[in-house]
Symmetry: C2
Subunit: 783 residues, 2 copies
């Protein structure tokens, strides 16, 4: 990893010290602000130059038909695509006769800072126009965590060394022209002008636009209001058109003098509410924000984040890049989930249009665990969203011929949007990820209300799916055939170990819950025989094992397949080799069997873990951003601590270093969550099975100290790991009992426990050219 | 099977005695005429009513983009679709003031006869116009086997009981309006007006139209000329427009008097020749036909067919429907292949637009064997077509990452047109079908020139493909993983028995040929080591076997899969159940392991054949028209002769009885070929491995005699099977040695040999509701 020289390594901020127009797409994603409801990409205030303008509202989408070369029963007919809604962040500046545009004139200095504690994006410019007029501009942008519908910007321009006439135009723009996202004319066509204007109005410094989206029919309202700093009597003008709201204010500034204002923006959307109701909703939110005021809004934001960091912060001594990156990661994970409130947490959050704005299984698998231990309030919301989509998932299961619920591989509303079933519908394991997120959340928080309402229903309906998907073979083993596991370089295989073990957990959890909540079980129509059938199937689940190699095949027959010819590989493989060939050979895109080790550690002996990890390490190419963090966790568990450190860095720096070259489409929320997982599950060794937390902390050579907090019921468990000891401290009312390296410990006082030495293991190899970059420069092996 | 009351059962004709407008789509396909170069659907002369107007030229197609919901490397970007070219069969009739249109007036009688010996479609109408004017019309249509570019119609109208004024308009029409074929607007859009007019001209009674097809760029010329019967001086008029040529002649007919003419039509097309060259080509063909004359053209047709039937006829005593059907079948197979001349033989021949006019593997697997033994001249052409596409197949193999040639799953020009790779590209077995067709053709004909030119190259390039597709497992078995076998209700499986055994044959055949033609082998770059590697792989090929059940799984793991729930099945399954579920369970669309038994009989013991057949019979639903004939052959081999008879009837009556409800799109050429295969391979027991023909003749209870001819080198081997004996007679210069029920017999005289009694076997069951209709009414079991 070459550190990006444009971004400074600082513990609590991501700071860009010069503007690199070539990195604009990436920086727009990195500097995106969101509260889980509203998302604003880090576009420059003046709108241009841009790579991709982006303003998103969680759930706002357009519908587009899914084309097929050959039709097949059960293929979804349409997909959903996140759309760029009304842009409320635009503020243009005219300096004498020339617009501020960094492609022209001279940029003396330009700095942007994403502050993880203030929750703001601050920008400071010193610019000299082509005509020689110098101005300094400072803008501070936030998307409020405390007022869900509100975003705001403080904007100030100052004349530097000579008088300047300035005009500032603050805008709302709908249906912005977008660069083409795809070479398929069909997908672009439908999204070119997706919003139909239905209302526009203004009064004083306020403007409102309401639109309806062509095919999805959703109504979207956006409004803005302004408070000019200082001089209350400065004349301004507010104009509106169907797709434009514009507030203009101007002044002639003497050197050192400033003109500025606060801009408040509110958004609302609905599939059912009327246009007047939507308009009222956003104008009310706007009024509340204005009453709060710009300074207080920033203070609220800081207060919210101070509370978050108290519980969530991870301190990493010995690797400043990872220290910065894990905070950046937690900040973006929080932004994606904080105020989702019964909406999905998408793969890219609300930072870009990647993956069409869809949510996948990695939300439950990687993002929700982080939030469960750091900000569990958001997890209940995310799982209630799944519950809200249950009837769609039940319909889908029925369409496919199964019982229970089959959640979609990719979606915005809950309807399946995957148009390639071998890597979509066939990946039923996502249903077990939903179930695992339920039990983890309930175990960690003790939220029995959730358990007895949405929780049990999600478990029961997914258990029903598994029971109807699987069958018993002639030896009485419960087999699940023809499914696709997490590794997308294999598909449609029998008895994927990860899938089978997660299905087992799902079935047992449902069995457990129906006995804990018998009344609810009755309401859900679960009789004793049905529950017993889940239990029996779980206990009989098939787990293939290759005796001759002494490893688990990730699915039946996998280890008998031909080895991939890495010498002729071009990466990512999926863009250069046909799925036909990829699927039939031993090559792994992302942790699959290794993910099973992480998720179901009790199913493997220590020796099996070491052998399996070593076997799959040799053939895993990490063409998915979801892989490195999982490999980090299991590498740490089997004692390959240097490798774990390397993978932790890869997960943590995925976006800051743009390792997959697609941060432009939005940050990788699950990989960012993976940075936390790599540190806490990896070097902290955290696992939770049922009520009990277990830890096997152990640091790699490069780290001298790791401190993290795990929220558990009403308390915070602080853990401080050093090379030789781990210190556990409960902050809160609960009496916690944990397991430290196999020893059960009651935490009624602060406990400082010794860490046993790591086992000595031979480092595993990776496919040629696919080793992660070595983290410790002193042991650097490759250029 | 309920015999269709509209079609009379006659030995040498298919006669429809009343016009049933509801069956128009089917009858247009049944009555289609073709010579393998030109195809005319059996549309009524006057054009309307119609189900689907159709005039096709082998190879003439349009290109359309293939859409994908999610792109994948190696997916073909465009497909080819057969198009309806200029309609030259149209002849409209005005009776006084009213057009002859059978939807109006009174049809006193209407008869259409497809005559298998004359090679004509004769139509006789007695019609009374709404105004009460009666006419009789007789038309005789042919597509010439002897003049490839020519079709012709004799047309006569007669006044019946009162004077009538008639006008006959004979036309060429391009860009006819077609009924929508698909609910996908994309596929229709591009094909709506596919031909751009580039030239139109006329002189005397002749008109010519030349068009260029929008995207494929092919030039198509059509011309017509007319000779009026009797009265040479009758005035006529010829007009042309870009999309229309029209010849009009009229007369006032006294009762009993006639007006008629012969219409000659010629077609030509080219991707390279200029417009004047194309025009000259069709006008020359037209001139030649006119010189030949209408009567002589019919005589030539009869002569051609007399020769064909001498070699090809099959006599079936005891089942008049099958007798008629097998001749109908042979006639259509001949029509599809007779004058293809280095073009593909499509799944529907040139009888309809079904499957986009594509050719599939069943041409080599089922159609070419029939032609090899009845009309081998056409087989060399069909295989030269494959050879002509070799460079495309080599490119495809390279794109996929393999050596040699990968022929397309579906195509017109040789480029892959399959947009769903699990049931397209993954079905590599088609390459072995090409190789098997080569060796069968060479064995039967002794055509060493072909063997040393195209033959060896096709074998070498397919052998190279197999060698690079497979790999040796740790026990040294040669495995072919992740492919799709013939059964389209399974996909992407390891070690499909059919595929592996056919690959073995392919590898051994290539090994054999490179040693027979060492100079050619050197030219093709085959060294001894490469050939030895083929031989080794073939000898080591993996054939999975399920010891506990005592049957072959059709692919690894198949017999361990869950049984399909036939109680909840809706047929065809592919339209009512997702592929996901179909693929993972034990349900078979079409013979797969059973096809392996038919194609590679030496690889199975008699007991294995019986057990395997019984096992797969229980789970085969025959949602493919390719299945019944194969099941018939193997049923006969294992002694289930009644079942073989039932399946023979199903294959033979596929189109006449419209068993799959899609004869409207064209007849099923491979299933028709299957009728011959069921009789000759089934009840004749014909197999050919290398140079030697083997027979195990045995009739079912319902048949009293079967006579067929097998062409072998320069001779004809006549075989007459009765319940107790088989008589073999060589007609020609060759000394043949055959095997009859295990005994080698030299046929230097006529041999009449006893047939051993059939083994007694318990009849196999089929999935509920999927048993074939019982053939012998005396043992009828179901309603």
């Amino acid at each position: 990893m070459i550190p990006n020289p444009d971004f400074l390594v600082e513990p609590w901020r991501l700071r860009e010290c010069t503007l690199n127009l070539d990195l604009l797409a990436q920086s727009e994603s990195l500097f995106a602000l969101s509260n889980g409801h509203i998302g604003w990409r880090g576009n420059l205030d003046e709108g241009e130059p841009h790579a991709l303008p982006g303003s998103y509202l969680n759930g706002v989408h357009e519908v587009r038909p899914l084309p097929y070369a050959e039709r097949g029963y059960g293929n979804p007919e349409s997909s959903q695509t996140v759309i760029n809604v009304t842009n409320g962040k635009l503020i243009r500046l005219l300096v004498d006769d020339e617009p501020l545009d960094l492609r022209y004139g001279t940029t003396v200095s330009h700095e942007r800072t994403l502050d993880f504690r203030n929750g703001t994006l601050v920008r400071e410019i010193h610019w000299v126009s082509p005509a020689g007029k110098a101005v300094k501009v400072r803008s501070t942008r936030l998307v409020s965590f405390t007022q869900r519908a509100v975003a705001a910007i403080g904007y100030e321009v100052e004349a530097v060394d000579q008088p300047v006439r300035v005009v500032i135009q603050s805008e709302l723009i709908a249906n912005e022209e977008l660069p083409t996202q795809s070479d398929d004319p069909r997908s672009a066509a439908v999204l070119e002008h997706p919003m139909n204007a239905v209302l526009h109005a203004s009064s004083d410094a306020k403007a409102v636009l309401v639109h309806r989206i062509e095919h999805s029919g959703l109504g979207v309202a956006a409004a803005m209001d302004h408070v000019v700093f200082g001089d209350d009597d400065l004349p301004f003008r507010t104009e509106v058109e169907p797709d434009l709201g514009r507030f203009s204010v101007g002044a002639r500034l003497a050197p050192g003098k400033q003109l500025g204002f606060a801009k408040f923006v509110a958004y609302g959307w609905s599939s059912t509410r009327s246009v007047p109701a939507l308009r009222d909703q956003v104008e009310a939110a706007l009024a509340a924000a204005k009453v709060t005021g710009w300074e207080a809004l920033q203070a609220e934001q800081r207060e919210f984040l101070d509370a978050f960091w108290r519980d969530a912060d991870v301190e990493v001594d010995g690797d400043a890049e990872i220290q910065q990156a894990v905070r950046f990661a937690l900040f973006h994970v929080l932004q994606a989930g904080a105020r989702g409130e019964r909406r999905a947490i998408a793969a890219k959050g609300l930072t870009g249009p990647g993956y069409d704005g869809h949510a996948f299984w990695d939300t439950e698998m990687l993002v929700l665990p982080v939030l469960t231990y750091t900000y569990p309030e958001s997890v209940a919301h995310a799982l209630w969203w799944r519950h809200d989509t249950l009837s769609l998932a039940q319909d889908r299961a029925k369409q496919l011929g199964f019982e229970g619920a089959a959640f979609p591989w990719r979606t915005i509303t809950g309807a399946e949007c995957s148009g390639y079933w071998p890597a979509g519908t066939a990946a039923f394991h996502l249903n077990a990820a939903v179930a695992a997120a339920v039990t983890r959340y309930v175990s960690a928080t003790g939220d029995e209300d959730f358990a007895a309402t949405a929780g049990i229903e999600l478990l029961v309906e997914t258990a029903r799916l598994w029971r109807s998907l699987g069958h018993h073979n002639s030896e009485g083993r419960f087999c699940i055939d023809g499914v696709t596991g997490p590794d997308e370089y294999s598909a449609i295989a029998d008895n994927n170990v990860y899938t089978n073990l997660m299905a087992k957990r799902n079935l047992l959890a449902a069995y457990d819950y129906v006995h804990r909540f018998p009344d609810r079980a009755r309401e859900l129509g679960v009789g004793e025989e049905e529950a017993a059938a889940w239990h029996d199937a779980a206990k009989a689940v098939m787990v293939p094992y290759d005796d001759s190699l002494g490893v688990h095949p990730q699915s039946d027959g996998f280890t008998r397949h031909q080895e991939w010819d890495f010498a002729r590989s071009k990466y990512p493989l999926l863009l250069h080799h046909p799925y036909f060939d990829i699927y039939r050979k031993q090559v792994v895109k992302q942790a699959d069997l290794v993910l099973a080790i992480m998720q179901c550690p009790e199913e493997f002996t220590a020796e099996q873990k070491a052998r399996d990890f070593d076997y799959y390490e040799r053939i895993t190419v990490r063409d998915s951003s979801l892989s490195a963090c999982v490999q980090a966790v299991v590498a740490a568990e089997v004692g390959q601590l240097q490798l774990a450190h390397d993978y932790t860095a890869e997960a943590a720096l995925m976006d800051i270093a743009d390792l997959e070259h697609n941060t432009s489409d939005g940050v990788h929320i699950a990989s960012l969550a993976g940075a936390w997982i790599a540190l806490v599950f990896g070097f902290g060794g955290l696992r939770q099975d049922g009520g009990m937390l277990t830890f096997t902390p152990r640091l790699p050579p490069g780290l001298s100290r790791l401190r993290f907090t795990v929220r558990q019921r009403q308390s915070r468990l602080r853990v401080i790991v050093t090379p030789d000891t781990a210190r556990y401290e409960v902050d809160g009312p609960d009496e916690l009992t944990i397991v430290h390296h196999g020893h059960t410990v009651r935490l009624d006082t602060v406990q400082e426990l010794a860490i046993p030495p790591a086992p000595r293991v031979r480092p595993s190899g990776q496919p040629p050219g696919r080793a992660p970059r070595r983290r410790d420069p002193s042991t650097e092996e490759d250029g």
